[in-house]
């Protein structure tokens, strides 16, 4: 029996290593996208897909023109999460790209989110880019990090790399920028609530809540 004991120990450790590795891999890997209704979709409006989150028939639509490399936009992303939770089905959030030229990786990040959109995971990439902003903005190899983010949210990485360079992704980012410029956007984040721009000085939770409440009141008033 003693003769076989080292084989048993080594075999058991090999099995434990492989088993725990596979279990950990499954736990860490984000599940593939499930079809969703309304809650986190990119909706077709006219011929252009807009990135919308929340109830399509919500009373209030909050639009953000954002830049993934802008620090206040990352703060705003956290703030908007709280606002979405508070207002629930009464609020719909729209996101438009407005990458500023001063941010060297902002356009690349916008393209990454569009490449994620082409696989149905725009919002997951949007959230991750803001969450990890401090990291990728300082990284020397930003595309490699974006690829790792794509893998993390369960995208087909090879397709993601191609989509990032696709005319479709570039066209969508450019269209958003054009839309922003036409609406007078010059800085990020710029927020519109039911098509009314929120002054930059009011981009704080208190004033945003007040603006949303006012928009709700206005819409629900007889």
């Amino acid at each position: 029996m003693k003769r076989y004991l080292p084989f048993v120990i080594v075999g058991a450790v090999a099995l434990i290593t492989v088993g725990s590795g596979v279990a950990l891999y499954r736990a860490k890997r984000t599940p593939p996208p499930a079809p969703k209704k309304n809650s986190m979709a990119t909706v077709a409006e006219g011929n252009q897909g807009l990135h919308a989150r929340g109830n399509a028939k919500a009373t209030v639509t909050l639009e953000e023109f954002g830049d993934f490399q802008c620090p206040p936009c990352a703060t705003m992303a956290g703030m908007l999460k709280g606002i979405e939770e508070k207002y629930g089905a009464r609020l719909r959030l729209l996101f438009h790209h407005f990458p500023l030229a001063i941010h060297v990786h902002a356009r690349e990040a916008a393209l990454a989110s569009e490449a994620a959109y082409l696989q149905g995971r725009f919002w997951e990439m949007h959230d991750l880019l803001y969450q990890e902003q401090l990291i990728w903005t300082k990284a020397p190899d930003v595309p490699a990090l974006f690829n790792s983010y794509a893998a993390r949210i369960g995208l087909d990485v090879e397709r993601f790399k191609k989509d990032m360079q696709s005319p479709e992704a570039k066209g969508r980012v450019a269209a958003d920028q054009k839309r922003g410029t036409a609406r007078g956007v010059t800085s990020t984040p710029t927020i519109f609530i039911n098509d009314v721009v929120v002054p930059a000085t009011s981009l704080n939770p208190t004033d945003l809540h007040a603006a949303i409440d006012a928009a709700l009141k206005e819409k629900t008033a007889p």
């Binding site: 003693k2 004991l5 080292p6 120990i9 080594v10 450790v13 090999a14 290593t17 725990s20 590795g21 950990l24 891999y25 860490k28 890997r29 990890e132 401090l134 990291i135 300082k138 990284a139 020397p140 190899d141 490699a144 990090l145 690829n147 790792s148 983010y149 794509a150 893998a151 993390r152």
Partner: protein
Amino acid sequence: MKNKKERSGGAARARAGVVLYSVAALFAAAGLADATYLTVIALTGETVACGGSAACHEVLGSSYARVAGIPVAVFGVAGYFSAFSCAVFAAFNYARAQKLFAVAVSALFAATLWFLYVPWQSLRALSLRKLLPL
């Protein structure tokens, strides 16, 4: 009399060897667990392992982090598993395992020196880039 002393000395050495190889096997098992975790992190593309450290990302994102597209942690798993297996067999007095264990430990030691050099080199490059923005 002398024979008895030699026999007891040999038994003590054998016991010490068993203890030594058992301890080595435990360390190798810990290394194996760590390398397995790092492999999973590399394969899932997770970044939280760095705890938000840009310097850590500098190293993980460098060309040294993969060899022929394979995360270096995979080689760590192979190395630690080899060391563990050899230590276990050596503890059971398999003569060839003792030699192979020495080879495995030497390879792991060389790899450790290499991985101490890599972050230093990467961070030095990062510092130079910061000092000399081009």
